[in-house]
Every structure is written in C-alpha cells, then in structure tokens.
C-alpha cells in the first residue's frame, strides 16, 4: 500500500503556529521608530521575518485598538501613510515580552540541547 508521508503538511502547520507566537514581539521590536505598514513589512522581511500583508496590516490595527500602538497620518514623499509607533503601554509590554522571550529561549535551548 502506498503511504503518504504526513510530515510536510504537519511541519508547515506547526511552524506557522510557532511563528504566530512571535509575530507580535517581532512587530513591536520594529516600532520603536515610526513605520507605516509597507515599510514595516519590508523591514521585518529584511531581518528574516517575512509576515504576510494580510496578517500584518490587520494586526497593526488590533494592537492600536488595544492601546499598544499610536498612529498618525503623514504625507511625505508619496501618498498619505499611516505611521505606527509604540505607545507607553506598548513599550512596557515590549520590555516584558522581550524578557519572557529570552527566558523561554534559554529554557528551549536547554531542552533541545539535552535532546541531541
């Protein structure tokens, strides 16, 4: 009987979940300086963290709705653009999440090293 290897599909799904967990931290990390949606996506992609536009743009609005980002419209060298940056609450959350991420990373490194 021909068996289909289930790994690629499972891998894609689980990897997506793994990335979903860090998307917010990644986005917050780039917003200490004001960025608009497209430039933020480019900046993240340049650092090896490509995020689909359909995920990123709504996420920015949701984070703003939660009071973690502040935004303003600017007209510079092109069409009007909405620039986002961390609010005071966003700064605090970013610091806390960064600390959590580092702890988690250390724990995971320990676990994965033992598993070798």
């Amino acid at each position: 009987m021909h068996m289909v290897d289930p790994r690629p599909e499972a891998f894609d799904k689980l990897e997506q979940e793994l990335r979903r967990g860090v998307v917010v931290v990644a986005v917050l990390s780039r917003l200490r300086e004001p960025q608009y949606g497209y430039s933020l996506r480019q900046a993240l992609a340049a650092k090896g963290m490509p995020i689909e536009e359909g995920t990123l743009y709504p996420l920015l609005r949701r984070l703003e709705g939660q009071g973690l980002l502040a935004s303003e419209w600017r007209i510079e060298d092109g069409p009007p653009r909405r620039y986002y940056r961390l609010s005071a609450a966003g700064e605090r959350l970013y610091r806390d999440l960064t600390a959590s991420w580092r702890d988690l990373n250390a724990v995971m490194d320990g676990l994965l090293d033992e598993g070798r």
Binding site: G37, Y38, E52, G54, Y57, R82
Partner: protein
Amino acid sequence: MDPRAIIESYVDAVIRHLPRKQRNDVGFELRSLLNEELDGTASDAGRPADEAMVLALLSGFGRPQDVADRYRPAGFTIIRPADAPGFARVALLGLGLQWALTLPWIFADPEIDWLSRLPVWWLSWGLGAFWWPGFLVVLTMIAAWIGHRWPRNASWTPPRAMDRDHVNRPLLALGMTAWTAGAAVLIALPWLSTWAPWAPAPVVEAMAFDDSFLRTKAPWLPPVWAGHYLFYGVLLVQGRWTPRMRQIDTGFSAAIYALLIWFMASGPVFRVGSTDDAAKSILAAVLLISLIPFVARAIRARSRIRPPKALAASNGA
C-alpha cells in the same frame, strides 16, 4: 481590467464586513498599502502592474471576509467546542421528536386530503419545529454574553455528591415514611367505607377496586413491596450502597415495574372507568419518572473512565 480598480473593489469588499465607524479609516489605509504592495511587486518584476499581478497579490492577502475578521478584535464564543456535540444532539433530538410526534398525527387526520398532508405538515409543524434550535441558540447566546461580561474566575470545586455510594439517611427515612403512608392508603382502599364512614358514597364508589383485579393481581404487589421496603431498611442501617445492594434494588424495581405494566395492560384496576383511566395515567407517569434514576445510572456507567482497550487486553492476557 485596471489593477487600481481591482484594488478599489477589493477594499470595498473588505470594509463592507467591518463596523461602520471603522470602514473609512481602514479602507483608506488598506487601499494605500495595497497600492504600495503592488508598486513594490511591479518594481521587483521589472514591468508595469497588470491584472494577473494584482489578483495574485490579493489572493495572497486573503478572502475579504477573512481579512475583515482579522481587523476585528476577538469576539466571544457562543458555543464552546466542548459543548458543540451536546448542543447539536439536543437540537436535533428536539427537532426529530417534534417531527416524530406531529407527522403521524397529521397523517391520521381524516379531514385533510391525503395528497395535501405532507405539504400541510411541512408548512405547519415541520417548519415550526425549527423554533427549538433557534430557542437553544438564543439561550446559548445569552449565556455566552453573560459569561463574557462577568467571567467566572472562581476555581473548580468538587461537586457535593461525589460519593455516589453514600446513602442520605434522612432523605431515605423520609422517602420510606411517605412510601409507608401511600402503601397503607392503597392497601386499605378496599375497606374505605369502614375506616372513613364520613366519605361520600360517590367517592367510595369511585375508589372501589375491580373485583377481578383484587382477586388475581393485587395480591402480588404487597409481598414485593414488603421485600423492597425491608431492603431499604437494611440500606438505611448500612448507610452505603454496594454493587450487590444495587443489583438487589434493580431486581425489586424490575419486579414492581413488571407488576405495574401487567396491571395497566390487562383489564381494569378500578370499577369506575374514569377512575381507572386516571389511575393508569398516574401509573404510567410514575413508571416513567421512576425510570429516570436508572437511565442516569446507565449514562454514568457508560461515561465512567475505563482502562484503554490495549491495557485491559494486556492485563487479561
């Protein structure tokens, strides 16, 4: 087709699913971002933006409804995944029960033309039965909203009735007292005119047992009752159920049910027809109600945690 017009149409489709006050702001930003994405893609490809390019971009962005969902903050769950199978069962059972009851009834109605029966049923009871799932959904929505508005933060506590083998002695004693009184009244009923001479003659007449019932069937009941009563006396002293005690209880109950069904199915119990009908209706109701604990016990037994099959097999081997 003009790529910008496609983006415009896509943005319209997205914001249509958003709250009115959000639409303009999100629409303006989304259009600007998609145009920039398109310019970026065209620049990377080294050719002007075209229809295929914009459709590929929008396809990656997602269906407008899905994109609109991502813009909305997380809402509250109306039916939790754990409750969904139970909800579906109750909804379908209620629907099926109504149909099962009303369909034969309408087909038995001689006043409705045979060919019209199904359409008449469907346009009345058939469609009308959908009130039940709708009613359940509304109740669930209200419960979900209350749960969302005032979340329960209290930690889990074990239910009081966790020890199912424990016998509630005061309750059992109360039940036995009520039972004694009821049985005494029924056993003394044939001599009603003697111990209640003040009772009006029509009442005495209405309460008179059928002679054949008294002679051939009634004598079977007191010994079974007495045995069951004694059994409960023992249970009251012991204060705990054991598997054997449950088997004996089930045996006595089954004997009583068999007698009651026999009484109902074979001939009159009372001389007067109206009393007989009323008594049999009450007996049927008592039978149904007394079956509830057995059904509950069977459901509990089914849902009891058992060792997995593989483990049971290896233990048995």
